[in-house]
Subunit: 147 residues, 2 copies
DNA sequence: TATTATCTGCGAATCGTTATCACTTAAGAT
DNA sequence: ATCTTAAGTGATAACGATTCGCAGATAATA
């Protein structure tokens, strides 16, 4: 998809505008964030890069994700068990459906979420700034192969 | 509220039925879980009990919450930054509204969530088992006292 | 090419949580 | 009432994901 290339360049440009240096390590990390649809983990990103960049440090991956998060260009899906995943394509809050067996993460289309948000704001008198909605279940693949 | 007493006795009974011993430490922890409306943290529970039970160990609080979680009588609200909170009154999934300033956690009433769940199940072909919905924002109190 | 602020890699530090282990105790049996 | 013993407790060590600190490297600008 050409969208991924645009996304990649858009993130890099934003980093440049912010006065950050564009290092090979940073390029590699942004490339994976922009191009992957599978919500990779830090470990996963590190492993992928290490194949053709053996000196890549895990700390560098963490540092760069922190940076990219701070400019709002990646969405962190933090789970309490530490299995955090990252979405560099849609860095804004959106619902996720997670398979508890194969850990696949899918983005469903849900229109009615905005209504819900307004409903909550009215009822609680909060100024709602952000949200997080996850559904946990079993995907059709894992359902099929139940032994 | 008398509901809290019922809730307390219901949890204790379930523990008895499961063959667990009813220790003073366990009683104290269940009492707080059943009676508090404010979604306390482990540290908070430990601190409250330590006042009149100075030898209470933090490990005991963790162990008991793990146990009570395993019998489905407390809902864990895990946050990736480690600030986990517990709800012993409504141990089933339900939405939360969290103030990012004072960390208050409120339970809103939302009817339309079930529709959303069905919508997702149809669209993604997942068997949905569980969910988590958090809204983050600023409560009316914190809004008022913005300096 | 020189300068310098930023970045990287490595390993140590951190922090919430869990595991270990010797000692205690709740609860059923005698 | 006392005995027995599996389960529970407290103190502390271990753990694992993430962050920090520092010395050396390197992009970016002049």
């Amino acid at each position: 998809m050409a969208d991924h290339k645009k996304r990649f360049e858009s993130i890099i440009q934003k980093l440049r505008d912010n006065g950050q240096k564009i290092t090979p390590q940073r390029l590699a990390i942004v490339k994976i964030l922009a191009k992957s649809e599978d919500h990779p983990s830090v470990e996963n990103i590190h492993a992928r890069i290490k194949k053709d960049f053996p000196t890549m440090s895990l700390a560098t991956v963490y540092r760069n994700i922190l940076l990219i998060k701070s400019i709002g260009e990646v969405l962190e899906l933090g789970f309490p068990d530490g299995s955090n995943r990252y979405d560099g394509n849609k860095p804004y809050p959106h619902p996720h459906v997670i398979c508890i067996k194969c850990k696949k993460v899918v983005d469903p289309e849900l229109d009615s979420l905005d209504d819900l948000k307004n409903e909550v704001a009215v009822e609680t008198n909060f100024k709602i700034l952000n949200h997080r909605l996850d559904f946990f279940g079993i995907c059709s693949n894992c359902m099929a192969e139940k032994v």
